[in-house]
Symmetry: C2
Subunit: 129 residues, 2 copies
DNA sequence: CTTCCAGTTCGAGCCCGCTCGAAGTCAAGC
DNA sequence: GCTTGACTTCGAGCGGGCTCGAACTGGAAG
């Protein structure tokens, strides 16, 4: 029945810890429009809901996979426009997914270069005692 | 008959094109100590040998795999000290290799998040006709 | 000879993604 | 009722990795 203190929301510090970002970054993300304005308590302090935290988590995955902040902002804008942008958001994810796959293929190749180099070093070391 | 002009070396522009960096970056890499001072022609223009180009190529792979410039510099310093640093260089590569593997594992996980999200969008779109 | 172009050096500037300092507010614990 | 400490806003600053403009030089083509 949620009578009163069934809040379960997090302060900026707690949210930051949960998602592995700093409080600075959380406020900055909000300011940059990556996060819709977060609810406040009576004293004006941010309260992060589960949904907010889940959204932040998703953002961290997008960032980690190399999505530029400007694209994340675009995505956030789409999300704020509701269901009618579902298709656009899916397209955005699919395009990003393809870039991540490409990136991984690249890394696999680069890893090969590293391995060959390591091998060359091993052989050279052997040769020199 | 190309008597003497068997140079086979590249100008900064040609080298840049070969390795996929700009001429600005090539000069900057040299200035930053990522590349040992490159040979010059009679007019003071840089001439990149095959070895130079191979070295640059290796640097691009290190960069692409996320090695910071400062580590590349350290590696370049080791390389300039000759054979006695072979072990250190191999260790550096092995450590980097491990980081790249970790990065790839992370990307694989993140890709999963993307896939689930794409799926969720698909289902939501279906639900809304 | 002149024009052109690719090169040279130097220091300044840029974009990105945070990161932080300052000054102030508020609620809780002693 | 005072202190503590986590919060607030604002604008400035930073580190990384280039990127560029300015002023100049030298070889080659017409």
């Amino acid at each position: 029945m949620d009578i009163g203190i069934r809040e379960k929301s997090l302060s900026v510090g707690e949210a930051a810890e949960r998602v592995g970002l700093t409080t600075y970054t959380l406020r900055w993300y909000e300011q940059e429009g990556l996060v819709a304005p977060v609810g406040r308590d009576s004293a004006g302090r941010r309260r992060y809901t589960d949904d907010d935290v889940n959204w932040l988590f998703l953002l961290t995955r997008l960032r980690r996979t190399g999505m530029p902040v400007r694209d994340m902002r675009r995505y956030a804008e789409l999300a704020r426009q509701g269901d009618r942008t579902l298709g656009a958001r899916r397209a955005l994810f699919e395009a990003h997914r393809a870039r991540v796959l490409a990136r991984m293929a690249e890394l696999t190749e680069d890893l090969n270069v590293l391995d060959h180099k390591i091998d060359a070093y091993r052989r050279a070391e052997e040769e020199l005692g």
